[in-house]
């Protein structure tokens, strides 16, 4: 069995000393790095005043909630219909939010791409503007839009449009900047204008990438759309938050189940569409 006989390990170590010497420099770096991470972790726990005595109690209570959650039950058929309607709202919010955000972000992303608009100031201003939109969480946007158009799913749609506008603008402009210059130069050399260069040289390259990014976001927006109801912006989140507050655990688990099913089916559909559009390519 053991036909391959090792010589004495000591002789091997003697012959290749550099392979057996511990690398103190690298080990030191890694140890210090992890040590700092752990120290900050401990500091965080102390600073946040995490009450460990409540942990066991809480776990116990959580177990109780979980027991009360099975089996998932909407209560009545009428209630189930209300939930399904809320779910429809959620999907509508996610869909229109993604679509609106993408449509608005597209022209702006051209402005933010260095290879389309060479002006540094325009570039800088649009980039910073997009960053600001992105820095505000969807829930905060929802809170603001509820104040403008009132409670309901429309506020949710507008909130998603705003936060997606920022994310798409950044993603799109990065995709555009990564595009190959040569087709555009070819169009210019054949006598096309700058706009022709964008339309025939640039867009055919980037549109599939942009579409796949949009589809990818559709799924993550469905997740966001399930929660913006918490601040009153429509969708299933409103029902969910309400049922959690009144401790109707069976309904809560029913709603969570609905969300899980919806998100994974949208994930599946958008995945299929994505592969149909660009093939099995990694999205940046």
């Amino acid at each position: 069995m053991n036909s391959f006989n090792f010589e004495n390990q000591a002789t091997i170590a003697e012959r290749h000393p550099h392979l057996f010497r511990p690398d103190w420099w690298n080990r030191g770096k890694i140890t210090v790095g992890f040590g700092a991470a752990i120290a900050l972790f401990v500091y965080g726990i102390v600073q946040l005043d995490i009450p460990f005595h409540r942990l066991s109690d809480g776990m116990f209570r959580l177990g109780g909630f979980l027991q009360l959650m099975v089996p998932p039950d909407p209560g009545s058929w009428a209630q189930a219909l209300i939930y399904l309607h809320a779910l429809g709202e959620t999907v509508a919010i996610a869909f229109l939010g993604t679509l609106g955000g993408a449509l608005l972000a597209f022209p702006v992303s051209l402005l933010a791409a260095r290879n389309v608009v060479a002006n540094r100031i325009v570039h800088l201003l649009t980039r910073r503007g997009l960053d600001t939109m992105r820095g505000v969480d969807t829930l905060i946007w929802a809170l603001i839009w509820v104040g403008v158009v009132g409670l309901g799913p429309f506020a949710g749609i507008l909130a998603l449009i705003c936060s997606d506008f920022g994310s798409f603008g950044k993603l799109f402009s990065e995709a555009i900047e990564a595009a190959d210059k040569k087709p555009g130069e070819g169009v210019l050399a054949a006598g096309g204008s700058h706009l022709h260069g964008i339309r025939f040289g640039l867009l055919p390259q980037v549109i599939p990438i942009l579409l796949s990014q949009v589809l990818y976001y559709f799924e993550s927006n469905t997740r966001s759309a399930t929660i913006i109801g918490i601040v009153g912006a429509g969708g299933i989140g409103l029902q969910l938050a309400e049922q959690i507050r009144v401790l109707e655990w069976q309904r809560v688990s029913f709603l969570i189940l609905l969300i899980l099913i919806t998100v994974s089916s949208i994930d599946w559909i958008s995945g299929k569409l994505r592969f149909a559009i660009i093939g099995r390519r990694e999205i940046a």
């Binding site: 991470a37 900050l40 972790f41 965080g44 726990i45 600073q47 946040l48 005043d49 995490i50 009450p51 409540r54 942990l55 809480g58 776990m59 209570r61 959580l62 909630f65 709202e89 999907v91 509508a92 869909f95 229109l96 679509l99 960053d131 600001t132 820095g135 505000v136 969480d137 829930l139 905060i140 809170l143 603001i144 839009w145 104040g147 403008v148 158009v149 309901g152 799913p153 429309f154 949710g156 749609i157 507008l158 997740r223 966001s224 399930t226 929660i227 918490i230 601040v231 429509g234 969910l240 938050a241 959690i244 507050r245 401790l247 809560v252 969570i256 969300i259 899980l260 998100v263 994974s264």
Partner: protein, 295 residues
């Protein structure tokens, strides 16, 4: 040097144009069909989502008006006094922002550690048992799909108000998200080191430690940093449901119409998020650069 470009005769041009039309006809038809489906879906979603464009147009002025009303009052003669009045709560808000960052950090690290532990079990190239892979992946999917704020809502009831539910919610969500990304990295590693360790008699733990981890660590750290960035945003709204951090003050200011407070807190959040983005992006590029140099 100018030379005349030879023009094709009319008939030949016509023929070329016809062929082009035939070649793109199918593509065009697909495009129109796709557009029609998209518009139909948008209309259906608009009906479902209660879109009222009339009301939107009528009330749109409130959107800039809202921001205008949150703007602090400034005059040149007393700029400094105005500024300190606008940021009157700065000490409290910085403390809360610090809490928010710590919630995000502790949650991210805890989630990254458990995601790290689970990701190897979810990788089909390291675990032979289909059942273990399947179960681990479903667990990760569950952690990822339930929004963190829903976890936070439930945890607030179980553990009481404060940072603990926020940290736990972020940790669970991060476990799911990072576990999946880590597993994808692990599934794409070079198989030779693993076979090497296995062939020289290493146990499963040793295979993971010496065959897999050295290949993936820098990628893992990069993903964890990216997740930290995302979690900072998430932690900023945890306070909406009473799970600690600056969100509590923000939602209070919005609900009670403390306009200038809204703009001050929002500005602080945006600046913090941008700073974090900037720093983590730097670190990530360095990490990925190291990765590239090693290959």
């Amino acid at each position: 040097m100018r030379t005349a470009v030879p023009e094709f005769p009319e008939a030949r041009l016509q023929e070329l144009a016809d062929r082009y039309a035939v070649a793109v006809a199918a593509k065009r038809r697909r495009l129109w069909l796709g557009t029609a489906v998209l518009i139909a879906a948008a209309l259906a979603a608009g009906w479902m989502g209660d879109v009222k464009l009339g009301m939107f147009a009528e009330n749109f002025w409130r959107f800039p008006a809202y921001f205008a009303s949150t703007a602090p009052k400034f005059s040149f003669s007393s700029a400094w006094v105005d500024l300190s009045e606008w940021l009157w709560g700065l000490p409290r808000w910085t403390r809360l922002l610090g809490d928010t960052l710590l919630i995000a950090y502790v949650g991210t690290l805890a989630g990254a550690i458990s995601g790290f532990a689970l990701c190897f079990l979810a990788s089909a190239n390291l675990v032979k048992s289909r059942a273990i892979v399947f179960v681990t992946r479903r667990v990760l999917e569950f952690c990822r799909t339930v929004p963190e704020i829903v976890f936070a809502l439930i945890f607030v009831l179980a553990f009481g108000l404060g940072a603990l539910p926020g940290v736990l919610a972020i940790a669970i969500h991060t476990t799911g998200a990072l576990g999946k990304q880590f597993a994808e990295v692990v599934e794409n590693i070079d198989i030779n080191p693993i076979e090497g360790v296995a062939a020289s008699g290493g146990s499963w733990i040793q295979i993971v430690r010496f065959g897999a981890v050295p290949q993936v660590l820098s990628n893992f750290v990069s993903y964890a940093l990216l997740r930290f960035e995302i979690n900072v945003r998430g932690a900023a709204v945890m306070g909406f449901v009473g799970a600690g951090g600056i969100g509590q003050d923000l939602i209070e200011a919005v609900r009670k119409f403390y306009f200038t407070d809204v703009s001050a807190i929002l500005l602080l959040i945006i600046v913090t998020v941008m700073l974090i983005d900037f720093v983590t992006e730097r670190v990530r590029h360095r990490l990925l650069g190291l990765e590239g140099a090693r290959k």
